[in-house]
């Protein structure tokens, strides 16, 4: 009798842990690092295969706080007249014809209290890869670094960049 009880307690405990792992997994999926996008745009295609430079589309990396996700004018230059049966390109052409903007899901979002400037970092000679990894190998953009405070700080420490709280929290 006692033995059965012991076995059931153990089994219950294992079930709880498995449930726990499931919950962690669910939480992780809700904070997905690589969200689906309205159009299956691929950096592999455009950056690796077509050899476009990042600044062809992200025009403001060295001029502004934001790198900026391109609007459809940039895509239209190539895609407006492109003859293709690819359904994703058709979708894009429909957006272009209707003049409707594509609402991309944001992959990188810092909380409101943290201030980050692309311009400063690009001017300081930082490459996109150091923070975004090699996007030309990502069929779908994902966050390849943690983008947490400790990560920002470890690089600032190494480069003797400012580490006072108010540099990033304003």
């Amino acid at each position: 009798m006692k033995r059965t009880l012991a076995y059931s307690v153990i089994a219950g405990y294992f079930a709880l842990v498995i449930l726990g792992i499931y919950v962690v997994g669910h939480y992780w999926e809700c904070n997905d690092q690589a969200p689906e996008q309205p159009i299956a745009y691929s950096h592999v295609r455009h950056v690796y295969q077509n050899g476009l430079a990042c600044t062809h589309c992200h025009k403001f990396t060295d001029k502004s706080i934001h790198a900026g996700v391109p609007n459809l004018d940039v895509c239209a230059k190539c895609h407006a007249g492109m003859a293709s049966d690819n359904p994703e390109i058709k979708k894009l052409q429909a957006y272009i014809e209707e003049g409707r903007p594509v609402v991309w899901n944001k992959v990188h979002v810092l909380p409101w209290h943290a201030h980050f400037s692309h311009k400063r970092h690009i001017k300081a000679g930082k490459q996109c890869e150091e923070c975004h990894s090699d996007v030309s190998a990502m069929p779908r953009i994902r966050r390849a670094r943690s983008f947490e405070m400790g990560w920002c700080l470890s690089c600032h420490r190494k480069n003797n960049a400012p580490q006072e709280c108010w540099t990033c929290h304003k």
Partner: protein, 421 residues
């Protein structure tokens, strides 16, 4: 560092495909041997006074004096260093120097263990346990570091690489629990499951080691699930994929029979479940290694793609070189040129109207006398006209380039003649 870099050439296709299973095998051998040796020496020292018979059994379990560890632990460790050299080829990482130092440390630990078994000197045993624990800690820290590429640039100069993440502690805890579990299982299989040299569990002299074996199986099996959960709770977001959660759940599920079976054997004083319990333990160990590999592969997904690409582009360069050789003797084929135009170029080009790219009737005439320049452009398009976006590289073979260039020139010449008539 320099030595390993020289040994590791750029990876080729076969090695890329073989790498994952090879790393898995080497990890399995190394960690199994290291863990069980460390635990058995440590416990042999602890039980020496109160139970000399048990102590002797512990010491004989992995028999470091027989130098099996050279093949089963050090060789895999050396292989791992080379394999990770390939895996991380072309990145700035501190992993290889760490692995080299760990290799030396592990060698020293095993040597101390071997002389401990031969001479029976206690301090050698204690030294061996400490060194092997230390080397295992650094090894687990390095394995964790591989799945945190964002830390690589900050660890290059440090001897101790483990201050970057709580995951190191979690992984070391997992390593310790697996060492205990696998030691327990090894004792059971070696002394009570194996047909040769089997001990009689009813003899008074052997019940001590039997109880140890069962307890060493039961306790880690009960503790480990919590550590698995902790592992997932602290895992870096960018190293996780949904598959690791499934593997993790399966691993915990297979620990349940281990716990139940060892408890049942302990309470009812029989040894019927030794083999199934050992199988389940090994399976869970394998799943754990698979999990660690998945963490590493997800965190380095881009690096792996780039590696596969390097291989591809080297292969293409090689075939293209051969084709160029062949194309010298072969004639450019207008039919092939027409096909390529229809399949690849017509999405962006027409002869008479502007599409994505300029109309051929405007741009080709300047190449009529310079077909080599046209071929060079098709091989490697560069930016020419600011009114147009850049033309993507079409990745054609040498023969295709020559054929389509010849076709375009002949078409434009024909059009020109028609216009002139």
């Amino acid at each position: 560092m320099g030595l390993v870099n020289q040994l590791t050439l750029t990876p080729n296709t076969q090695i890329v495909q073989l790498m994952d299973p090879l790393v898995f095998l080497m990890l399995a051998f190394h960690l199994f041997f290291l863990g069980v040796t460390t635990v058995s020496i440590g416990l042999s020292l602890m039980t020496r006074k109160p139970a000399p018979a048990v102590s002797q059994r512990f010491l004989e379990l992995m028999a470091p004096g027989r130098f099996l560890w050279l093949v089963f632990s050090l060789l895999p460790l050396a292989m791992l260093t080379v394999l990770y050299g390939l895996y991380l080829h072309g990145t700035e990482n501190p992993i290889l120097p760490f692995l080299e130092r760990i290799f030396v440390l592990t060698l020293l630990g095993y040597l101390a263990a071997a002389f401990h078994q031969r001479t029976g000197k206690r301090f050698l045993g204690a030294l061996a346990t400490l060194i092997l624990l230390g080397s295992a800690f650094h090894f687990m820290a390095t394995m964790t570091l591989i799945s945190v590429p964002e830390q690589w640039q900050f660890r290059a100069q440090r001897f101790l690489p483990f201050t970057f993440s709580i995951q190191v502690v979690v992984h070391f805890a997992q390593y310790l629990l697996f060492s205990l579990l696998l030691t327990g299982v090894s004792i059971l299989v070696r002394y009570f499951g194996w047909p040769e040299g089997r001990l009689d569990p009813t003899q008074p002299g052997t019940s001590g080691i039997k109880t140890w074996g069962l307890a060493l199986t039961l306790a880690p099996a009960l503790l480990h699930p919590v550590v698995f959960l902790w592992d997932f709770g602290t895992a870096h977001h960018f190293a996780v994929s949904w598959k690791v959660f499934i593997v993790g759940m399966v691993a915990v599920a297979f620990l349940l029979p281990v716990a139940i079976m060892s408890l049942s054997m302990l309470l009812s004083n029989h040894l019927r479940f030794i083999i199934p319990a050992a199988m389940c333990s090994l399976l869970v160990f394998g799943l754990f290694l698979n999990l660690e590999q998945r963490f590493q592969n997800t965190a380095n997904a881009e690096q792996r793609t780039v590696m596969a690409r390097t291989v591809d582009s080297e292969n293409t360069a090689w075939t293209n070189a051969r084709e160029a050789e062949y194309a010298k003797s072969a004639k450019p084929d207008p039919a092939l040129g027409k096909k390529i135009f229809a399949e690849r170029c017509s999405a962006c080009h027409k002869f008479d109207t502007k599409l994505v790219g300029p109309p051929y009737n405007d741009v080709i005439p300047k190449y009529v006398d310079k077909p080599d320049d046209l071929m060079e452009f098709i091989r490697k398009p560069r930016k020419i006209n600011p009114d147009y976006p850049p033309m993507p590289n079409q990745g054609l073979t040498e023969l295709e380039v020559q054929s389509v260039a010849t076709y375009l020139i002949s078409q434009v010449q024909d059009n020109g003649k028609e216009g002139g008539q």
